[in-house]
């Protein structure tokens, strides 16, 4: 008695979409996501300028005497610091805001292909991370005269653009926990301590032994090893760092998607 007599068979092809159009929908979503953030200086400027300013100040001006090797080491550190923020904030703040203001509800009601919304944000974060790395590279080569080969620059760029992904996943998870205005505060509570504890501001060997021992807990510590390796300063063993970062990404992404499906 609860059956609903629907004559859906009248138009059997209705609602089907050729794969080219579906692909176009993903592209359109990514394009919009990038455009809207590129046009909001309130988001882009802090993301781009903070790491560049810190690097300029602590990596170049303050380290004037200590030479190009320090500047090279700090290029990796501030590169990681700069890459974390588009991931954490680009994902976390916008997801928290859009869960509150109704945009996510509208997107879920519209026939947007699955994941296009998250994929768009991911591309945006990768793009912003790429810009941060290019800015830092320009400062390092132009002002601190760090000798960076084209191959090293390329590897650092790749490290930064892919290295943003675990932080996207972490930001997304926070975005599903906190709604609206609370997100930036919570994210800063993760971003700043984690940067310090992974030795991005003060090199790890100079931190207390206890902090050195727990450093492998933080994804940023692993990304820093990869960034150092890209610049020819690292030790062997890229694989283990890659695996840890991949595990972080998958774990937080799954946790976040589960919460998103449940709570919206």
């Amino acid at each position: 008695m609860n059956a609903i007599p629907v004559a859906a068979s009248l138009t059997p092809s209705a609602g089907r979409m050729p794969w080219r159009r579906t692909l176009g929908a993903y592209a359109a979503e990514a394009r919009s996501e990038c455009l809207r953030y590129l046009r909001s200086p309130g988001f882009m400027l802090p993301v781009m300028l903070f790491p560049s300013m810190f690097y300029l100040l602590f990596g170049i001006v303050m380290n004037h005497g200590s030479g190009a090797d320090t500047a090279r080491y700090l290029l990796a550190s501030y590169g990681v610091f700069g890459v974390m923020s588009p991931g954490l904030f680009g994902f976390g703040v916008s997801l928290a805001a859009e869960r509150e203001n109704g945009l996510l509800i509208l997107k879920r009601a519209l026939p947007m292909p699955p994941g296009a919304y998250l994929l768009g944000k991911m591309l945006m974060a990768m793009l912003a991370a790429g810009v941060v790395i290019v800015l830092l590279l320009a400062l390092a080569v132009g002002l601190a005269h760090v000798a960076v080969s084209a191959g090293q620059a390329g590897r650092l760029l790749l490290t930064g653009m892919l290295g943003v992904l675990p932080f996207c996943a972490l930001g997304m998870f926070v975005g599903t926990l906190v709604k609206g205005q609370g997100a930036p505060g919570v994210l800063n509570l993760i971003y700043l301590p984690m940067s310090f504890l992974s030795g991005l501001w003060v090199p790890l060997p100079l931190l207390p032994a206890a902090l050195q021992r727990i450093a492998p807990l933080w994804p940023s510590a692993h990304l820093q090893q990869l960034a150092l390796g890209a610049l020819g300063l690292g030790h062997a063993g890229v694989t283990s760092h890659l695996l840890v970062l991949a595990a972080y990404t998958v774990a937080f992404f799954l946790l976040a998607s589960r919460r998103l499906r449940r709570m919206g």
Binding site: I4, L10, A14, G15, I105, A109, P113
Partner: protein, 304 residues
Amino acid sequence: MNKHATVVAGLAGAVKRYGAVTALDGLDLMLHRGELVALLGPNGAGKSTTIALLLGLVRADAGRVELFGVDPQDLAARRRIGVMLQAAFLPSTLTVAELLRLTMSYYPAPRALEETVSMAGVGDLLGRRYTKLSSGQQRRVQFAMAVCGRPELLFLDEPTVGMDVDARQKLWTSIRQLVAEGCAVVLTTHYLEEAEALAQRVVVLAKGRMLSDGSVDALRSRVSQARIRCVTDLDADAVAGWPQVAMAERDRGYLLVRTDAAEQVVRRLLDADPALAELEVLRAGLAEAFSEITRDSTTEQEAA
């Protein structure tokens, strides 16, 4: 209602609870092709929950919900609907044209941009950023986004809030045109004159249940009283004592009478005062019918 009309979506025995609150309490509702249904009801009646269930935003705790014969969360089914939600935030830094192109990209066979633009009257807004628009203009853009995918079922949640009279009339014209083309429309509104102007069918909800389902005329006829207004020297208190007069009072030189038997009362008024002038008889509007139906349900439930 034509029983053979094609059903595009429906709920059967749908129950939805939020904690201790029962938002929908066993609702049965079928939506047909080419039919405009107005969902009316006081706040908390279950209108938004009904729409959220049909859009697949929330799951029913019991009962069935179908959109084009399948689960509302099915992407192919949602490609056949258009949506205009009540609290709709859109990316503020995108232009109107960019928002429309993005929404069009979700659909298999969207309307041409020019067609959408003329239906929603947003031609002069295309190049402007969404955040720079007035709330009425933003509503028009949201309407354009709702219709751009050539939907067979359109959800309009308070579509004309914030619009001026002119924009509202234009939107009504576009909605009527869509219905004439066979599109089914679900409209929720607080403006009863909007429901009166557009709807073939009015569904009144209260406390998660359906109180009435029928045409605007059928709903009106549930309120039998009519209002009579005229200029006369007759004493209001005397008229109030006549049979079948529910109420009579004086208001700025007019005599106002409410009655169940307008014809008899008018005849007696004309007999009693040959000089009577400016006679007006008004049937109860949707507003009176609506408040009477919802009031009945409250008193019944309080009595129970």
